[in-house]
């Protein structure tokens, strides 16, 4: 499901983990992984399924699939789903907080340093290059979102993607309005299977 071979899992233990253990695992592995959501989820799977056997393979698959259908950051939805599977509401909150607070605090610190560093000529020069790279990053993200659906149904993608661009630029609709129109169109236009 994540694109890389996964090692086999142990069977699920009878006892759920303590909230402190759950929080420690999500704080450590949910915040310290580079490479985006898929890489982090693969790391978390290794910890909660293969090493600790807190959840079963089918529970992992359900949490992963539904997290992809959840608005917002899929990785955090996945963490909440695993926490809920293991310890219900308290587990979801602990996993969600542990997976999002440390990296958020780090983002605040780095943002603060960014503001302080703007007076340095070297910093400004380096930032200029990083910002140009970020443009590539955003285009790549757009392609990453569309790619599975382009492969599954090119015609559908060729209508919806340019249509969304036209509605937000030429017709000056807000992004939210465009998404609502897309949702309505998608409900009326059944989808084919994707490889995602």
């Amino acid at each position: 499901m994540l694109g890389a071979p996964m090692p086999p899992a142990r069977t699920r233990p009878a006892e759920a983990p303590r909230l402190s253990d759950l929080g420690a695992v999500f704080a450590r592995y949910g915040n310290l992984t580079f490479g985006g959501g898929s890489a982090t989820i693969a790391t978390l799977r290794e910890q909660v399924l293969v090493r600790r056997a807190w959840i079963s393979e089918s529970q992992f698959q359900l949490a992963y699939a539904l997290s992809r259908l959840t608005p917002g950051t899929n990785l955090l939805a996945f963490c909440a789903a695993v926490g809920w599977t293991v310890r219900r509401g308290s587990g979801a909150l602990v996993a969600l907080g542990a997976a999002s607070l440390p990296c958020s605090l780090l983002a605040v610190v780095v943002t603060r340093f960014y503001e302080l560093g703007q007076t340095s000529a070297s910093f400004v020069a380096a930032l200029r290059g990083a910002l140009a790279a970020a443009v590539a990053l955003m285009l790549n993200t757009a392609w990453g979102l569309a790619r599975p659906h382009v492969r599954a149904d090119l015609g559908r993608a060729l209508v919806i993607v340019p249509g969304a661009i036209a509605l937000v630029t030429a017709a000056s609709l807000s992004p939210l309005q465009v998404l609502l129109i897309a949702a309505a169109a998608g409900a009326l236009w059944p989808a084919r299977e994707t490889s995602a």
Binding site: A65, G97, L145
Partner: protein
Amino acid sequence: MRFLTLYFLFLKATATTFAGLASLPVLRDELVVHRHVITDHQLNAAVVITRSTPGPVGVYVVSVGYFADGLAGALAGWLAMATPALAVLLLMRFIGPRAEHPRVKGMLQAIVLASAGLLVASTVPLARDAVVGPLTAAIAALGLVALLRKVDALWVIAAGAGASLAASLAGVTS
């Protein structure tokens, strides 16, 4: 800007999109275009900052919040980033068995495709701010090639920063 206003603006963006950076068009529309709370440059910088640190891509909302209103803004950003994740609990309990329905799948796929289009549309003004000459154009183009070849975003950003810094030290304009 008031904390709750900022929180609901962020939530409007995070709760209506299905991937970390997909919320960027909605945020830009509200905070850059209509309310002038932050600039395109700061929005772009927030993406760079959070792709240079570990954690989910969606954390860029926290950085945007800090630019908008300091620590209170960052807190609003974190809450808005975390809140939609709780919707998965409802899905786990009630919607999971129906997720394969063709109309539900069609709706979700259309939202994802539209999010991709919106992200492209949002990248254009950000690119006008970031790509200011041949060097930055080359960094953006080569960066895209590298990303498509699965090079980690951290290395692409670091390489872009390094190239621009080296060019600056050598007296080459960007």
